[in-house]
Subunit: 316 residues, 2 copies
């Protein structure tokens, strides 16, 4: 079975033919050009589907779209997506269904990452797990009994905004001390710059001293790999915050497998080892059995794999 | 339909005949006498069931037991209950089934409070809600699609140990800054005593000054009702902490109805109003729609109603 998976981003529309057994068969990308307005973009999405259809070795069964904004419980409507000009409330699935004659559903990125991991990735062998996506923002998706747990309105898993310190810093929400405000890419970079300013003899400071604002998490990972103690310590700090948040997920859900994906997760054990340690230090004993934090190895493909999986599961 | 509900406590065994429509028909209580050992107590539980059977207007369909300790996913086994001498791992449901010829299941107190509220109480009209029990400890139960969400092993909803401050105080778990450590009866009493020591002209201090360790939350509620500003402020402090924790539940689960029960909840709006305010101040906008914190009015009956409901739902 083949599903068409689409990742609707602010700069590009990525799409893929996803085979239920083989995963991604082919991948495509076109610029979003959101500045050309809503109708232009909806037409472009229809073209993207039509193009994928033509490239498919057999007829695709449906279309799954990962979109920004708030997704309705029936997975048909997108509300207030940031970065998409003129989109207020858009019945995206209906528009695509009408334009392509294929069933379509929409879902948010973190939920699709969870679904992709459940079908093709690190989460494949688990009945239940929590996906935490560490990127520009920090998102979450909850897999329970092999399927997404979506809550009352489809909004479950805002795990970047689960607080670990009610007096803590803020990211782009009113929630103080959510882990997005510690470990979201921008916040981690800013914290790293602050720490390096206090370590002016550190090699990483010397390399970036004239443009500390350009320092990115990947620079930290590379420095940590080379043995840079300050970089390691910054990542340990970030991992510890992640570990605390994970305790909250585990105590609420009694789901003990955590899968971490997204750019910042590439720090691997520089972040995940302190996360495990911090989580275990604060976790109630009965929850420790079977607890683990895994790294999603499928990288960026996970979103398209999730969107393709959604496409194949519409009729379920 | 009638189920037998049992609340196995450290000092007394409460039991009730619960009618699916009318609620509690009759209630009974015998001392637990846990010091007499496991076999004595198991026999006593069988006697309790037999007694309830005889008092029932029609044959009960099963037995539901609220027990301390860790309950297995199949709701048959109790592990390591505090306060019950000689109980390590006990196949409680099997023992009761064998001794009474009625199907039996066991569940933890907070989950039964949630189930009782879902079938008979404040949660009755909601598809989804989160029950928070504010007593000696702080517990939680999650109702999703009218049924308990129990997680991977039956342990979901340890909501008193969801942290709001990773540097915060500890209750009886390794989790720092869980709300049990703020608003659990003992901790709230201790905080109140500390605050009163700094307000030596306050009427409540003057009343308790020689035995501040005897001050209980109920004394705070009564003083608050009489307009005592310090008592009100202490309850506002407690309510705020509860509100922060509720944001974590809502952002994780996307369940927007919170039902609060247990002794400390009798403070009513002295705690619930600041909880609502604190929660809304930290909640992401999309979750505010339909958000509310309700007070469970059924009081102590809720546990027996939940146990009776469990009894009636065994075959489901």
């Amino acid at each position: 079975m083949i599903g068409i998976g689409i990742d609707l981003g602010g700069t590009s529309i990525k799409s893929a033919l996803v085979d239920s057994k083989k995963g991604i068969l082919k991948q495509f990308s076109v610029p979003t050009e959101a500045n050309k307005g809503k109708d232009f973009l909806l037409n472009r999405l229809i073209e993207v589907v039509e193009h994928a259809k033509k490239e498919a070795p057999e007829a695709p069964v449906g279309v799954g779209i990962g979109a920004p904004g708030i997704i309705s419980l029936d997975r048909k409507t997108v509300s207030n997506p940031p970065n998409l000009l003129g989109w207020d409330v858009v019945p995206l699935a209906d528009v695509i269904e009408k334009g392509t004659r294929l069933p379509c559903r929409v879902e948010n990125d973190a939920n699709l990452a969870a679904l992709g991991s459940a079908r093709f990735g690190a989460g494949k062998d688990y009945e239940h797990f929590v996906m935490v996506t560490l990127g520009t923002g920090v998102g979450g998706g909850i897999i329970f009994n092999k399927n997404l747990f979506r809550g009352a309105t489809g909004g479950a898993g805002e795990l970047g905004h689960v607080m670990i310190d009610y007096n803590g810093p803020q990211s782009n929400s009113p929630t103080q001390g959510g882990i997005e405000a510690y470990i979201g890419q921008r916040f981690l970079s800013r914290y790293a710059a602050d720490r390096l300013r206090q370590n002016t003899s550190n090699e990483l400071f010397l390399r970036f001293k004239d443009h500390l604002e350009d320092l990115e998490p990947v620079d930290l990972f590379n420095a940590a790999k080379e043995g840079n103690a300050v970089a390691k310590d910054i990542l340990r700090w970030a991992g510890e915050k992640l570990g605390f948040a994970i305790v909250n997920y585990v105590h609420t859900l009694d789901i003990r497998t955590i899968v971490v994906s997204g750019g910042v997760s590439r720090a691997g054990d520089f972040i995940l080892a302190p996360a495990r340690e911090a989580a275990l230090s604060r976790m109630m004993d009965p929850f420790k059995k079977g607890f683990d934090i895994l790294f999603e190895t499928l990288g960026n493909d996970i979103a398209l794999l999730g969107a393709g999986s959604l496409a194949m599961e519409i009729s379920k």
